[in-house]
C-alpha cells in the first residue's frame, strides 16, 4: 500500500514538472471575435517564433485566462472595453483646440488607421525620436489641433489608443528592431533582464522562465502586449501598456519609471518585438 502511494506521488510530481507546451495542448488557443464587420480570427499561438526570439513558442495573454474571461472577448458586444472605444469614437469626431478641427477632419474614418498599431513603437525620422501610438495622438493634438496633450496613460488617451489599435485587429504585430531603434531596443532588453526592487526580480523571471505556472493565485502569462490597451475586470477600465509595466514594478517592490518615460517606451518596443507574429487584439479583456 505504502509503495503504491509513493509511486503515485512520483507520478504526480513528474506530471507537474512537464513542460508548458504539454499543458498548452489542453489549453484553448482558438480565438475568433464576433465584430460588427464579421468574424475576425486572432493569432494567439505562434509555434515557430521569428528567429532570435528568446521564447520557443508565443502565447497571447488570452490563452492564460479563465474560460469566463476568455468568453468576454469573443463578442464585441460582451467586451466591456468597447464602452471606452465608443467614447473615443465620439472624441474622434469632436473638434477640439484653437484650430477647431477633429481627428476626423484630417483622417476621416478611424479605419484609415488600419495597420498602424502593428508597427509601433517605431523610429520617426522626421521627428527624430522613438514614437509610440500615444505620442502620435498627442503630436497631432498639439501640432494640428492646437489642443492640449492628453495625459499619458490617462483615460482619454488610452481609449483613443484602443480605438486606433482596434483597426489593426487580427493583423500580426511586426515592429522593427534594427536601424535607428536598435539602441532603444537594446535598452529595453537590458531593462527586461535586470533584476530590480526588494524582491530582486526581472521581467524575465516570471514571464520567460516561469510562464504557465501559478504565482499564488496568478496564472503567469508571457507578458505579451498585443492585447493592450486591455480592459481589466480588476479595475473596470482600459489599462495602458505603461500602466501595466508600472503595476508589475510595484508588485516586485521596485520604484517604477514614470508612465510615458523613455525607459518605458524602450521597454514597450522590446516587449512588443517579443510578440512579433501574434495578432493585435486590443481592446482585450483580462482579469
Amino acid at each position: 500500500m505504502k509503495k503504491t502511494t509513493r509511486t503515485a506521488m512520483i507520478g504526480a510530481f513528474l506530471a507537474a514538472s512537464l513542460a508548458f507546451s504539454a499543458q498548452a495542448g489542453g489549453m484553448n488557443t482558438e480565438l475568433v471575435i464576433d465584430t460588427d464587420n464579421g468574424p475576425v480570427k486572432i493569432i494567439t499561438h505562434v509555434k515557430n517564433p521569428p528567429k532570435g526570439s528568446p521564447l520557443s513558442e508565443l502565447y497571447s495573454g488570452w490563452v492564460f485566462r479563465s474560460k469566463e474571461t476568455q468568453a468576454l472577448e469573443t463578442d464585441d458586444f460582451d467586451n466591456p472595453g468597447m464602452i471606452f472605444v465608443e467614447q473615443a469614437r465620439d472624441a474622434w469626431n469632436t473638434p477640439d483646440g484653437t484650430v477647431g478641427k477633429s481627428c476626423a477632419d484630417c483622417h476621416g474614418d478611424p479605419s484609415s488607421m488600419k495597420g498602424l498599431r502593428t508597427v509601433l513603437p517605431r523610429w520617426d525620422a522626421k521627428l527624430g525620436k522613438l514614437m509610440t501610438l500615444e505620442d502620435y495622438v498627442n503630436e497631432s493634438r498639439v501640432k494640428y489641433m492646437g489642443a492640449k496633450p492628453w495625459k499619458y496613460g490617462g483615460g482619454q488617451l488610452t481609449a483613443m489608443v484602443a480605438l486606433i489599435s482596434m483597426q489593426s485587429r487580427g493583423m500580426p504585430v511586426n515592429v522593427k528592431t534594427d536601424g535607428p531603434v536598435r539602441k532603444f531596443w537594446e535598452l529595453g532588453k537590458k531593462l527586461y533582464y535586470t533584476r530590480v526592487g526588494q524582491l530582486d526580480m526581472a521581467c524575465s523571471n516570471c514571464h520567460e522562465d516561469n510562464y504557465g505556472k501559478y504565482i499564488r493565485a496568478d496564472h503567469l502569462s508571457q507578458g505579451q502586449i498585443n492585447g493592450f490597451p486591455a480592459y481589466r475586470l480588476k479595475n473596470a477600465k482600459l489599462n495602458s501598456v505603461h500602466g501595466r509595466f508600472k503595476g508589475c514594478m510595484k508588485n516586485i517592490r521596485a520604484t517604477p519609471y514614470k508612465v510615458g518615460s523613455d525607459e518605458f517606451k524602450a521597454l514597450e518596443l522590446y516587449v512588443a518585438s517579443r510578440g512579433n507574429g501574434l495578432s493585435v487584439e486590443a481592446p482585450s479583456v483580462r482579469n
Binding site: 458586444f77 460582451d78 464602452i83
Partner: protein
C-alpha cells in the same frame, strides 16, 4: 459624463418559434447614493437606471426593477421566441426621469 447610448444586439434573422438571445447594454454611471464626495464629505445623490423594459410589438417580454447595487453600465441578456416578425422596443428609465429608448426589427428567415 459621456453621452448615454444604449446598445442592443439581436440575431440578423430568427426562426419562428425558436429561442434566440437578446443582449442589451447601456452606458451609465449608476451612482448608488452611498458614496461621499472626497473633498466636501457630502453624499453624492443617487442616480441610477431604475427600470428596464423590452417589449415586442407593444407586449412586454422582459422587465426589470433595478436597485442601487447593480454595477455601472448595466448589461441584460435574455432569451425569447416569436411567431412572426415585428419590432422589439427597449426602454431604460433614469432616476432623473429621462427615458432612453431604442428599437430593433426582428426578421424571420
Amino acid at each position: 459624463m459621456a453621452k448615454i447610448k444604449p446598445r442592443v444586439k439581436v440575431p440578423r434573422s430568427v426562426k419562428a418559434g425558436e429561442f434566440f438571445t437578446v443582449k442589451t447594454l447601456i452606458n451609465h454611471k449608476m451612482e448608488s447614493g452611498q458614496r461621499k464626495d472626497k473633498k466636501t464629505g457630502k453624499k453624492i445623490p443617487r442616480k441610477i437606471i431604475n427600470f428596464f423594459e423590452a417589449s415586442f410589438n407593444g407586449t412586454p417580454v422582459f422587465t426589470a426593477d433595478i436597485q442601487p447595487a447593480v454595477s455601472s453600465n448595466p448589461f441584460f441578456q435574455f432569451s425569447m421566441k416569436v411567431d412572426g416578425p415585428g419590432k422589439l422596443a427597449f426602454k431604460w428609465v433614469d432616476d432623473d426621469g429621462s427615458v432612453y429608448e431604442t428599437a430593433k426589427p426582428i426578421k424571420i428567415g
